[in-house]
């Protein structure tokens, strides 16, 4: 299965297991722009899988109302770039519903699915990564999977998590990432990072699409191609880099990251959103506090530039393998 098929599979499990579950969003009854809801309307009925008008604030507000009635409400915002009109509903209503009603009400049944990150030609309004904007919204959770298996397990966990969850799906992985996905109903833990490669010299932390660029960068570090080999000192080529997929951006797994950095003494954070006040800023601040005496180099952030995501130069905007490699080298020789 590729990622969109595994998401469709997860949604189908959610609808089968829970009669109160409904899926709605722009064009989801036709399968959605990325085919994640293909055939669900036919299988489960138009009462449970339906199209909404193009009104994001209304969609999220509507979803909050459904969830406040104890239902499982799965909303789709067609692109993460379109989530901004719903920002108020997410931050002021969804995140605070439980707190401000003294625990009488909650919208834990709400899950907002939205495609995120760049595809190489999405430009200003189809390639943004807004996860950092929600980091201060205590009360919601933000989850970003890296692969089909992860997407299915984390999405089912998000739908069933008793808190509202924003589930951001890296859109380039919908088709390009393929795995043997178990067809059973299974969940993966929210709030827990995943150590993909163990290491002792540097911690490389990322989530979503850039994971693949990180992997490429690590291969380049071990055996640099001729064009870049002069920039990678021989002594660094055997460095053991620990690669971590953060998976949950809020609340993020401080324990795993801090434990890792305390061992390696170096941290490089990679994300697609711009540098200033991106999710990496919060992580760097926490790590410098908790690992201050163990750090051998400043925490390095390799991110998008602080510009809008440009259409023509999108490839230069996103942190690619070369920039990551450069950041790793710089941090290792600091």
């Amino acid at each position: 299965m590729n990622t969109y098929q595994s998401i469709r599979d997860a949604l189908s499990h959610a609808l089968v297991r829970d009669d109160t579950a409904v899926i709605f969003g722009e064009d989801v009854a036709f399968g959605g722009v990325f085919r994640c809801t293909m055939g669900l309307a036919e299988e489960f009925g138009r009462e449970r899988v339906f199209n909404t008008p193009l009104s994001e604030q209304g969609i999220v507000g509507f979803g909050i109302g459904i969830a406040a009635m104890g239902h499982t409400s799965i909303a789709e915002i067609q692109f993460a770039d379109y989530i901004y009109p719903a920002f108020d509903q997410i931050v002021n209503e969804a995140a605070k519903f439980r707190y401000r009603s003294g625990g009488q009400y909650h919208v834990g049944g709400l899950t907002i699915r939205t495609p995120t990150m760049s595809v190489g030609h999405g430009g200003l309004y189809h390639s943004q990564s807004p996860e950092g904007f929600f980091m201060g919204a205590a009360g919601v959770k933000v989850v970003i999977p890296r692969s089909p298996i992860q997407a299915k397990g984390l999405l089912l966990a998000s739908i069933r998590d008793p808190n509202p969850v924003i589930f951001m799906e890296p859109k380039i992985l919908y088709r390009s990432a393929v795995e043997q996905v178990p067809i059973d109903d299974f969940e993966l833990p929210i709030g827990r990072a995943d150590v993909l490669i163990a290491g002792s010299d540097l911690t490389l932390l990322t989530w979503g699409t850039p994971l693949y660029h990180c992997e490429t960068a690590l291969h380049m570090l071990a055996s640099p191609p001729p064009q870049v080999s002069r920039h990678v000192p021989e002594s660094l080529r055997g460095a053991k880099v620990e690669l971590i997929d953060l998976r949950t951006i809020l609340p993020w797994d401080v324990e795993t990251v801090v434990e890792s950095v305390n061992r390696t003494g170096r941290l490089v954070i990679v994300h697609e959103a711009g540098l200033t006040a991106g999710a990496g800023a919060e992580i760097a601040a926490t790590v410098q506090k908790k690992c201050f005496l163990k750090l051998d180099a400043p925490v390095k952030r390799i991110t998008g530039w602080d510009t809008p995501v440009p259409l023509q130069y999108e490839k230069f905007y996103i942190p690619d393998a070369i920039r990551i490699l450069d950041g790793i080298v710089e941090t290792l020789i600091y």
């Binding site: 999220v60 009360g139 808190n163």
Partner: protein, 400 residues
């Protein structure tokens, strides 16, 4: 801005556009008995013929309304109690015991009370920040409301919400963000329809919120999916400090639902409110889809406690509304005129209301403030929290 200021008088003085030829009746005491008012049997009364204006509705609600003495007396007592409670909140605020934001509904009591007498406990209501009377009428207590305003454990949200955040099992709260509760109400109505429950959801907002984009988004979805949702605009004529005429190109709020039928109601006559809400509830549960209902009402106080309410309207205007259109005095007039009770008997109810509120205030004041540990509860579902949350100062970190 100077140019705008010079232009404004010519805009503001334009005669407001009216859909109906005649102005809506907004007096509180124009209902007439049809048969002899009876003290133990139900009897018929007739509303003033301009109590309602309709938009895309085949017929207005019936002008002949069945009432009982008991109901009228209960409504009187409840309105009187609600006003007392809001006045107590006003005093507590001025005594600096209530801090933060506080919006009082003095003058608008007929709506919360009239609505409750027309619907059942199964029907659902969600409103904006002027929410105190609704919270009590929907099963809350005065102690619970005042306690919440004071930020005490006895408050209905355990003192953690404050004035705008009060809920009961069939009342989805006051909501502080202007207009945000309207699409939420549409979602609630959808869930009710999904469960095939024969209930109506009342999503309430003010004339100020009616210009928010998401209100129109909610209208569209509700009509598109035929949701049993009654959108209720409490038009108290001012959105904060700007009059309806200065903020809205169309001040006939009941006509703003496009294809959704509308009903404009005299919100100062509680019998008109009662009849309109009965009609709306029936409309929604009969599969007719949404309805936009506008109550023309008035708030005597400022928008919030920090607004004296006299910089954008004259004291004479407020005084005139108080003396000629007050909903409580209107109902008092009916009760006395129709020989259902004497002024003394009503005064006794007023005294009871005052005593009830005074007692609740004392009880609420005696309740302790929320425990420090509760600062971190109810953010995430218990057991699914992040490992820790930061506290009020640098060294204060709460580990779950």
């Amino acid at each position: 801005m100077a140019t705008l200021a010079r232009l404004r008088p010519t805009i503001a003085r334009r005669t407001p556009f009216r859909v109906a030829a005649r102005a809506l009746q907004t007096s509180a005491d124009t209902t007439q008995p049809l048969d002899t008012p009876h003290k133990s049997e139900p009897f018929q009364v007739k509303l003033h013929e301009d109590s309602f204006h309709t938009y895309r509705l085949d017929a207005p609600p019936n002008f002949e309304v069945e009432v009982t003495k008991d109901m009228l007396m209960t409504m009187y007592k409840e309105m009187s109690t609600m006003r007392r409670m809001e006045m107590a909140a006003d005093a507590l605020y001025k005594a600096k015991l209530i801090r933060g934001f506080c919006h009082l509904a003095i003058g608008q009591e007929a709506i919360a009370v009239g609505l409750e007498h027309a619907i059942t406990k199964q029907d659902l209501v969600i409103t904006a920040y002027r929410c105190h009377p609704f919270a009590v009428m929907r099963g809350g207590t005065i102690k619970g409301v005042i306690g919440e305003l004071l930020g005490r454990q006895a408050g209905m949200s355990n003192g953690k919400g404050g004035s705008m955040h009060i809920f009961t099992p069939n009342f989805f709260g006051g909501n502080g963000i202007v207009g945000a509760q309207v699409p939420v109400g549409a979602g609630i109505a959808f869930a009710a329809k999904y469960q095939e429950k024969p209930i109506a959801t009342f999503a309430m907002y003010g004339d100020g919120a009616s210009n928010q984009g998401q209100v129109f988004e909610a209208f569209n979805m509700a009509k598109l999916w035929n949701l049993p949702c009654v959108f209720v605009c409490e038009n108290n004529k001012y959105g904060m400090g700007t009059s309806a005429e200065r903020s809205s190109s169309n001040t006939q709020y009941y006509t703003r639902g496009d294809k959704i039928p509308g009903l404009q109601v005299n919100g100062m006559d509680i019998i008109a409110v009662l009849q309109a809400c009965r009609f709306a509830k029936n409309w929604a549960v009969s599969g007719n889809g949404p309805l936009v209902m506008e109550f023309v009402t008035y708030r005597y106080g400022g928008h919030s406690m920090s607004d004296p309410g006299t910089t954008y309207r004259t004291r004479e205007e407020i005084q005139r509304m108080r003396s000629t259109q007050d909903p409580i005095r209107g109902l008092q007039h009916y009760i006395e005129e129709w020989g259902l009770a004497t002024e003394e008997e009503l005064k006794k109810l007023d005294k009871q209301a005052k005593a009830e509120v005074d007692e609740a205030v004392e009880e609420a004041k005696a309740s302790p403030e929320p425990k420090i540990e509760d600062l971190w509860t109810d953010i995430y579902y218990k057991g699914t929290e992040p490992p820790f949350m930061r506290g009020r100062e640098r060294e204060e970190v709460h580990y779950y």
